[in-house]
Symmetry: C2
């Protein structure tokens, strides 16, 4: 039977958790949860990267369903973390970030910096990065949960995610 007096299974972040979270952020793609027009939960794969200041961001095509959805409601959650070939995937570390999406305008003065930085980690994006219907979107973290395997869950603040 489950124990009604069990402690909160999620611990505050320590240095090891912060280091693991930052390592997980160095991936080129993520899963994105967002709200569809009915308010139901939807999911997509997104390209994922960091601004030069460590802020998460993505590059989205207007053809993707989450483009219009995030314009209508900026609330989203992002999950990063690869699954290794071996072992139970539920024991492989992953980081879930609750975030708010904000679109970067084509004439935003920061866009050239974002563009140059993005191409370092996503060289194949050179094929479409300048298409008029692609946009950079900042994903401003509000909170995060690191799951490092069974019994190893940590709450993180936005500051914990930035080195």
């Amino acid at each position: 039977m489950s124990n009604p007096a069990r402690p909160d299974p999620i611990q505050p972040a320590d240095d090891a958790a912060r280091a693991m979270a930052r390592a997980l952020l160095a991936v080129p793609h993520a899963a994105l949860a967002y709200l569809d027009p009915t308010g139901g939960p939807a999911i997509s794969r997104i390209a994922f990267g960091l601004c030069p200041n460590g802020q998460p961001m993505t590059l989205i095509s207007a053809l993707a369903p989450h483009f219009a959805a995030l314009k209508a409601d900026p609330r989203c959650s992002v999950m990063v973390g690869e699954v290794s070939v071996k072992g139970d995937p539920l024991t492989h570390p992953r980081l879930m970030i609750r975030a708010s999406a904000s679109f970067v305008a084509p004439d935003d003065p920061d866009r050239p910096t974002f563009r140059a930085h993005w191409l370092k980690g996503h060289s194949k994006a050179a094929l479409y990065i300048d298409f008029a219907d692609f946009a950079f979107v900042r994903l401003t973290p509000e909170s995060a949960l690191l799951n490092g395997g069974f019994g190893r869950a940590f709450r993180l603040t936005p500051a914990d995610l930035v080195a």
Copy 2:
């Protein structure tokens, strides 16, 4: 500039799309989008498998945040599809399924069948499958979207997902 007269980028499913979707369902884990208590979009990694009849399902711990969330609101979306080491992850096939979650009661007459079938694909789950705070959850598809890479998106019905 984007073309205001561009056609719907999502095509109806054909046999190749159905075969690709069914192949993607043969994975042991998935990403799950669900609603948190505020109605915002949340995301988790879940174990993923099929019932003997081909119906998607998962096995969830009561410690996972999506356990209580899916009990409160069964709407969810599931994404399956591995990312290969090479190439742009946005060109790797993935399947997004809009689904409704229904918990399988511990005394459900189908549970022994689900349990035996689940362990064939998730042998490490033998460690916890019988814990009282783990539950099987059926994920009944309502619709699905297959993204097989740029320009290769297909709408699928629940029937398309079952061989």
